[in-house]
């Protein structure tokens, strides 16, 4: 019979790699595209696209910007290893 093994003994170095507060930003592109109130309307149209379509396509840019920012902010520095 074994006791449960929680992940408590994480080393400080590992925390720096994976537990950055910047990661919380990633919840923005997970939550925002899932709120229909933002995009479920026809007007204003952009290049003939109803808002429903152009705004949801614009969330792609939001996603790219956020993942790029988080990657840049959390990537290993040169002397880390």
């Amino acid at each position: 019979m074994a006791a449960p093994e929680p992940e408590a003994p994480t080393t400080a170095r590992s925390r720096a790699k994976d537990h950055s507060p910047w990661n919380w930003l990633l919840f923005i592109p997970i939550v925002v595209p899932l709120i229909p109130a933002f995009f479920n309307a026809d007007s204003p149209r952009l290049f003939g696209f109803p808002r429903f379509y152009w705004l949801q396509l614009a969330w792609i840019i939001l996603g790219v910007a956020t993942t790029t920012l988080v990657y840049q902010m959390t990537k290993k520095r040169g002397g880390d290893r």
Binding site: M1, S14, F52, V70
Partner: protein
Amino acid sequence: MWRDHLTEIIVFSLLFLLVSAMGFVAARWRAPRDMAHLDEWGLGGRSFGGWITWFLVGGDLYTAYTFVAVPALIFGAGAAGFFAVPYTIVIYPLVFLVLCRLWSVSHRHGFVTPADFVRNRFDSPILALLIAITGIVATMPYIALQLVGIEAVLKTMGVTGDSALARHLPIIIAFAILAAYTYQSGLRAPALIAFVKDSLIYIVILVAVVYLPYKLGGWGDIFDAADAKFKASPAPGDGILLNANNQLQYVTLAFGSALALFLYPHSITGVLASKNRDVIKRNMSALPAYSLLLGLIALLGYMAIAAGVKPLPGAKAGSVDGNTVVPLLFDSQFPDWFAGVAYGAIGIGALVPAAIMSIAAANLFTRNIYKEYLKRDASPAQEANVSKITSLVVKVGAVACIVFLDPQFSIDLQLIGGVIILQTLPAVALGLYTRWFHRGALIAGWVAGMGLGMWMLYQIGNPATGKKHFAGSAFPLEKFGFDTTKTIYVGIVAVLVNLAVAALLTLVLRAAKVADGVDATTPDDYFADEGDPRVTPGTERDADVAPEPVA
């Protein structure tokens, strides 16, 4: 009637032959010292850099389903079909967080499949077997869906006959070729072909989204034509915007599909084949380029409405095959030779994911059924061999799905697969973060989620087609006794119940002090990166082997 499409058939055939040749040559591309190893055949040597991973995972996630079924859904139902866009936006932040950990622990321990991870994390061969079977069963209809994509193209070119055999013969030939080069080259074949596939698709779509609106009077007119069609149709759920009843379904379907997509064995195969964590993270910023493409492809459905496309008849008398709208749109609007290129793009677009999926399913069988239960001391060469043969069997199964089932329900088949694969979320995705769940509780949660999911899918009918069961994934909440006409995605409900059962039983089993096995991974494993000491894959299998020393 195929004579009218001769140019298209020739261009299509040439492209198909080109990629087939590439598939066979791929065995020598970045050639390994020893191909008779599952890491080489099934994961391309775990060595793919940024560009290859981008093409491979992009070619893997955006399948023939993308090019054929999503516009078909938009053509038929309007805005509800656009869920594919939020779905493929939400997935990348999720992968960024979760699959990096899976990559690290797999790199350290030589895991090839998600079930390998579960086996070692939770010390439970039964749970690993359930995960493996879930993965294989969910992948089968997904491969079948790829065949539907090719079939839609072949049908439009008029090369499919009327009898059951003649209708499917071209597909059987195409898949026989695919099976042969996947057998020989493993994951290297789709990785190499993905370059051709994606280049063709980008060209076709860029031309389509510039040229077609110009021909059809502009984007505004296209949306207005679609609006007019949906206003005239008697169906309550369609329209170019969502209505009050399907918004919850739209959001839960997008989120649930995103959760499901990265649990699919083939996505995990693509991610594990990359060479380090940076490659994965950088790709999560670059892969959304495909989402933009997908959004534009989806709108081809509205262009088909504006162009007055009438889908070809389906397999049953009186039904229509909605999947033919995009090929028909290309046929009516493009010159023949360019339509041929577009068809080639769709056809090859089906081959890449079908190859990766069959490899992923074969790896699951080899690692978690064959090696676990049939031959414990299998050598790496034997593992690779079993995987190669299994990949053939899987493809035969997929072809059988198409021959014996109505392809009209391809998208629903895939949605059922999504519900199934979501039930591995607690063990695989949450398991990457916590060992809190009891292995027995995870098994019980899986059973509960699976049972509820199947029951809910069984309850869903479609009055329009007269189908009483398994006609979709939008579950009317009134069947739970709520006084509402809203619908919700089955997978989300099933996985929530799965989680609730797993959490409650964990408390119970802990209180009863039921044995919970030994975790063979250490917290540090989840951050390992390229250059870390790595076990030789295939040697560490048993959970009672001492954990790797902390690097």
